[in-house]
Symmetry: C2
Subunit: 144 residues, 2 copies
Amino acid sequence: MSANSRLTIGAHALAWIGLYQRQGHEVATSEQIATSANTNPVVIRRLLGELRRAGLVESRRGVGAGWSLARELESMTLLDVYEAVEPGPLFAMHRTIPDQGCVVGHGIQPAMQSIYEGIEKTLRHELARVTLENVLRDVLAVPR
Amino acid sequence: MSANSRLTIGAHALAWIGLYQRQGHEVATSEQIATSANTNPVVIRRLLGELRRAGLVESRRGVGAGWSLARELESMTLLDVYEAVEPGPLFAMHRTIPDQGCVVGHGIQPAMQSIYEGIEKTLRHELARVTLENVLRDVLAVPR
DNA sequence: GACTGTCGCAACAGTAATTGTTACGACAGG
DNA sequence: CCTGTCGTAACAATTACTGTTGCGACAGTC
């Protein structure tokens, strides 16, 4: 299973901050988010650090420090989060270079590369269709 | 990078066997395929074992043993390979259960689950559009 | 019946990525 | 100066994947 929970945690954190701010609070702390996500504050800080680099959140230091959204939830999509937290491509090539003397070994990487590019493009398109506002709405719509 | 090279290696092996059989050979050995893919024969056997379970290839034992296609390359798609070699979902949930007392912690998993299902469905559709025959053609079309 | 080549499979080491945890300095306000 | 939080480094724990070795099972040939 190649599964990464980073996109999930990223969406969780953004939805949490968004909801918290709508309840009138200025900033959310990594500890609060970590409690909700049931993990360690440092894990959240690392992840939010990547989201900050992508321009999705901002952080303040000092007393009354914490995290806040840099944009409205409506203007963020899962693609923004995905690109911020997922470094590599979806599918990888061989870890070693295939035998270039073999016809298949020589042609397989360019062939798969171009196929994968098309698939990733579709994936990105799908991720871009879901805003974080959509996510928060779905979250709040879950019956308790 | 969550990237798995299994789909790539699987496509490589199938294309290799397919081409080899078109050149008049009955079966291909794991060692030949491993040489082309620049890896260990056991890795290939493990992977082909999964493809056999999925009904894509067959294996013979004894002298003159090896692997052969169970179906035409035209009737196999990357989705068949993907389902045979990729066990888990594309995106994972939290590794621990989020705080169920929190509104976001409670609703995030069902919400993301349904979003991810839609995305995976699209991914499968894309993978199903590419046959192994397409892959082999692309491989042979790469200039040397 | 022995010999040979290959698969089937278990076991283990090596590598890499992710996550969890601790620690401590930096910062900003009271 | 004190406090609370971020920023970041360092390290352990866990997990997954890959590479490797070893050996038995099998099927054909001599």
